[in-house]
Symmetry: C2
Subunit: 421 residues, 2 copies
């Protein structure tokens, strides 16, 4: 099988390294040859052993070349990646891509076009780096009805939250640290505001549930609102704060989707996932709970996933690779999620404040399960509450009423809770 690759950045370099040193790995790698690599600039110095005659700036030539069987797209971005991939498919080539944004936005269009032409489209590297979650959902769990997928799919925010919890630093300091280490970009909004996680969630919804989702419609909040106060209460009450991407099938087969920081019970396996690591937890019938953990980014992990896709195509498990996109419904409002919640309310120093707030919650059918209070060094009263499981809209009504209480200064944070089962 002859391979043409679009892009030779970090991931492309990692893929080339594996393909050029097959020994000690699976013998299948000897059936594969990297014949052309499309780059922007031929003169750029590169750290690999690729003979220069394999490099070309004619990307279009790679996707139309009759000699090439598989096109590997590791250039990133929506265009020209989308056009090149569609042209590769049109020319009967299998496609492997690591392009998360592209699959999140145009996945079902690309899958349909691949199905028409009878070629494979594989994208293991698009979610969770080296974690084989896509293959696991498509193959190993094929016998299952997936009920829920909950993932820590963004390493940058997990690093920031881990630093805040372990070192007691503020969000801003942890973000600076992540930038210095190269984990966060100069403009960190795609990570810290949950955009990256939302794209990955859309892909998981497509593969795990066969449901096409517009990323814009996924309810999301990032981690900018998380303060050391929230981290401290989480610790005291035996939780860890994690940014989770959540997809849950309702009883009526509609799909609940959201990206939000959660209080995760410490005995839940997701609570132990630290630093830049990713993990995807899921529940299937009949497999029960399953979690996959690994490096969510980086040259080696991502290249491992890309080459695994190539090998799957080489071993011709083509039919198994198809994603069956069903027409199914999204839950009407993704934020309408039933869950226990954590609230942090700041009030004036009044002895009856906690009681009145707890009473108010109960009055709105939001029974408080646990209430902790404390005078902060700023001299205000802070009340942390864990509620029973309620709908978010019910909670919001109760919060509205709490905000109306004369001595309440602020409802400082509201986070859903992931309980260990």
């Amino acid at each position: 099988m002859k391979i043409g690759m679009l892009g030779l950045g970090t991931v492309g370099g990692g893929v080339a390294k594996i393909l050029e040193s097959p020994s000690g790995r699976t013998p299948l790698l000897f059936k594969v040859e990297l014949v052309q690599v499309g780059v922007r600039d031929l003169t750029k110095p590169r750290h690999n052993s690729l003979p220069p005659q394999k490099l070309t700036t004619h990307l279009e030539k790679i996707v139309t070349d009759a000699e090439i069987d598989i096109v590997v797209e590791v250039m990133g971005g929506l265009e020209p990646a989308r056009t090149l991939i569609l042209k590769a498919i049109e020319n009967g080539k299998h496609v492997v891509t690591a392009n998360k944004s592209l699959i999140a936005a145009y996945g079902s269009e690309i899958f349909a076009s691949a199905k028409d032409k009878g070629v494979c489209i594989a994208f293991e590297a698009a979610v969770g780096g080296g974690i084989p979650i896509i293959q696991c959902l498509k193959q190993s769990l094929g016998a299952n009805k997936i009920k829920q997928i909950t993932g820590i799919v963004n390493g940058t925010t997990n690093y920031i939250l881990s630093q805040m919890a372990q070192k007691g630093v503020s969000f801003d300091d942890a973000l600076q640290d992540a930038m210095q280490k190269g984990y966060a970009e100069a403009n960190p909004t795609a990570d810290v505001d949950g955009i990256d996680a939302t794209e990955k969630l859309a892909i998981l919804a497509l593969v795990g549930f066969g449901i096409k989702v517009d990323c814009q419609k996924i309810f999301k909040t990032g981690i900018r609102s998380i303060s050391q106060r929230d981290i401290a209460y989480a610790k005291a009450m035996n939780y860890t704060i994690k940014l989770l991407a959540n997809a849950r099938l309702n009883e009526d087969d509609s799909l609940q989707l959201n990206v939000q920081p959660h209080f995760v019970e410490n005995s839940h396996p997701l609570a132990a996932i630290n630093d830049v690591f990713n993990a995807i937890f899921l529940e299937g019938d009949p497999v029960g709970q399953l979690m996959l953990y690994g490096q969510g980014a980086g040259e080696g992990a991502t290249a491992s996933a890309v080459v695994s896709d190539i090998l799957n195509i080489v071993s011709s498990s083509a039919s198994w690779q198809n994603i069956h996109v069903k027409s199914s419904k999204l839950a009407s409002a993704s934020q309408e999620m039933e869950s226990n919640f954590y609230l942090r309310v700041v009030t004036e120093k009044i002895a009856t404040a906690a009681g009145a707030i707890a009473w108010s919650l109960g009055d709105f059918n939001v029974p408080p399960m646990s209430v902790q209070q404390q005078i902060t060094k700023e001299g205000v009263l802070e009340i942390a509450i864990i509620t029973e499981s309620v709908f978010r809209s019910t909670l919001d009504n109760a919060i509205g009423s709490i905000r109306g209480l004369p001595y309440v200064k602020e409802v400082a944070n509201v986070l859903p809770i992931l309980e260990a089962q």
Copy 2:
């Protein structure tokens, strides 16, 4: 594809349930039909919807029937399972088995015979229940050189150790509890003495490293020696005790294998795996660290794995399914493992005891990293030591000398340590 199944116990019943209710699962299931099920007793009452004419007591007929494409063996035990599977292969049938002991003992013989006949042999359910570790090693990580596999692969012992740590109960009480809950058998030796874990480790060595291992030659110790004292020291020093099955490739490409309770650093993801859950942690080049977590036993999880194997065969990824058993060497002595160690030494109440023991260790090139001591309620002195990384034989020399000290009553436990990286 027509399926004949040998056995209709817990796992067989689970498999039948999935095959008889394909809707809501992968469309591939509609290509599969369960046509015959071999049982011992036709009159036994069964909780499933299988029409009685599909049941037969002629197991031999199933493995030779020209109509059948895939034989699923879920009867367990070495014989007649081995003979039936070999006969099925001889007759050109693909084979799916959940039989851990059989693959551990006769895996390479069965693989060779399947290769000769050009059929698939699949056994995802043999290790880790519903965790797709076999497929992950064979497919998703195909591009990797596996460096290390470390697993919690026995749910019974993990449940016992979790109960001891969480509830403070003794080994005997935790074992009784496990028996009452149906997690441990009346004769618990296969679980608590590490035999089950050793068989699973042999299979992981075969799949992950292509190395055939005689289970008898794997160094193993079970969990009977673990006391509340060890659990308490582990907690105090930020570790959790877990029974680990370990396979590690040495620099010289020899393979280190052992099954032993370990001190696992709390920040290591394996430390958070509790109750009957299993997890397999591994390190590959270039993927880095990866961990798979899930239910290691039970009808649903195991049936999910068996059906996943069936689907893989149906999608004809036959070539990819082959295990390439290399001729490679086992490390000369599996117990010759370099590691940090935990020691618990019981001595008479002498102020210089801890110092003398620490000095003794240093004298034998076993530098102690951390020493804690305490007078027990029995009025003896107990000294817990974490050593630097040393060879087990070096440590054993030092322990011999410590045992010779006049006031040392006992070296009560010695466990290797798994550090978080």
